[in-house]
Symmetry: C2
Subunit: 246 residues, 2 copies
DNA sequence: ACGCTAGTGTCAGTCGCTGACAATTGACAA
DNA sequence: TTGTCAATTGTCAGCGACTGACACTAGCGT
């Protein structure tokens, strides 16, 4: 998306998506299918993935606070300094996989056919994301590890706080996308934000229920998501643009 | 409330309410009206208040991140170590006044006559809290400083995260109180949580609007609160106990 | 083969925060 | 008043998160 730039970059080093100097790079790089990534890139990706894997493994077994960055770095056999070149903070590595999932979702949402109502679009985007996300995660960490991480985040005060803030940011992003789809102005019409807030509330409940339940598989999460969203659907399947209410 | 214990205590040193070794102290101290606080207590309170005042002043002028704990401690002429004996973290001092306000509210809510519906009780508790809070705050810091602080919190990522977490905790606390009032079980009946969530959402919007508006006075906040809550009121003035819907 | 630069390690230093110990100093009784 | 006891505070040392500077190694393009 954002084209190569100086310094560490591509596989999402530091905070990608935020700031983002804007498009440039008048140079090459064919539109689709990246050329074989080259040794350098592969190496970078390997250490990055290894850092995530080790970090999450340590976090989920010893606890987040009781794990030091040095431990993680040592486990991957890189210097602490290198760790911080990949992740801006200890916190960030804990959300690395989450971020992937979120990006998937945002991307899926942007792809939804414009004739879908806002709520359907979101609903289908999550479900569609859940289907493809499994493999994507598995390329980096065992899915089971990610699920454990998810629960750890909710039970670690410092991470919970970060999580809530991230969620708030996500809602903002999604609101804008939804508003755009419907040709509305987020700062004028409150409905996009309200719809998104409702949607996320449902997702949050889903997450909690899943974390509490016995079947902590990926399939279970997908199933719960579908179930809960379908509860809301009848009340919210609005069509803002053409005035009908379904 | 929790009775004096060894070490720093009374005026809310460290995190009161949390953990809390449990009641003991078989000793004196008459039930109500504290006897003249004694030099020690007064001194403690003075340094505590001074720390808060200096901290907020520095935070709001230089920014939270750019202010070091040493700076605060130096300004009050105590050691850094002493600062941390009053506040568990740099973050905590930023929320010191907020905490007072919250305690007020919770207290006011608990005092509401039981015949009031849950939503009215909350509504009246905030309004009532806003009326008395001014002086209480002013005893510690200029009200204007607190309002500036409030805006700073919302614009500082690290503090925003903490704020969201604190809000989530508050919602939990309030849900329990409301459920108790109505004789419900929070873990069984979802209505208390929903009502509280709705209520806090309105409060959050209020806060945002106020922060954005031009009239950043205390009166303005009270006025906004009242206005927004009254919008919700008609839809939510439920009476759960006696089955009626108004 | 040969620069060029991206990526890494090392070093030193800042800042938040904590335990331990010693020095003060209110509070209270003899 | 004096002395004892315990509450506060300061000092010191140290850990862990994080950053800037600089030197070094190794892919990459020519």
């Amino acid at each position: 998306m954002t084209a190569p730039a100086p310094g560490l970059d591509d596989p999402g080093l530091k905070t990608p998506g935020l700031d983002d100097p804007g498009p440039r790079d008048p140079a090459p790089r064919a539109p689709a299918a990246a050329s074989p990534p080259g040794l350098r890139e592969r190496k970078k990706r390997r250490t990055r993935d290894a850092l995530i894997r080790e970090a999450l493994e340590l976090f989920t077994t010893q606890g987040y606070e009781r794990t030091t960055v040095d431990e993680i770095a040592d486990a991957v056999e890189v210097s602490q300094r290198t760790f911080f070149r990949y992740f801006a903070s200890k916190e960030e590595v804990a959300f690395a996989v989450q971020r992937m999932v979120e990006e998937r979702f945002v991307h899926a949402l942007a792809q939804r056919p414009p004739q879908e109502g806002p709520f359907d679009a979101m609903r289908n985007a999550v479900l569609c994301a859940w289907d493809t996300i499994g493999e994507a995660i598995a390329e980096v960490v065992p899915v089971e590890l990610h699920l454990r991480t998810f629960r750890m985040i909710e039970s670690t005060p410092a991470l919970l706080a970060a999580h809530l803030r991230r969620s708030a940011e996500m809602e903002e992003t999604i609101s804008r996308i939804v508003a755009d789809r419907e040709g509305l102005d987020v700062d004028e019409d409150p409905r996009p934000r309200i719809a998104v807030a409702t949607f996320s509330a449902a997702m949050r409940v889903t997450a909690q229920m899943w974390g509490r339940g016995t079947d902590q598989s990926l399939a279970a999460i997908r199933e719960l998501t579908e179930r809960y969203l379908d509860h809301l659907n009848p009340a919210l399947a609005l069509r803002w643009r053409d005035g009908s209410t379904t």
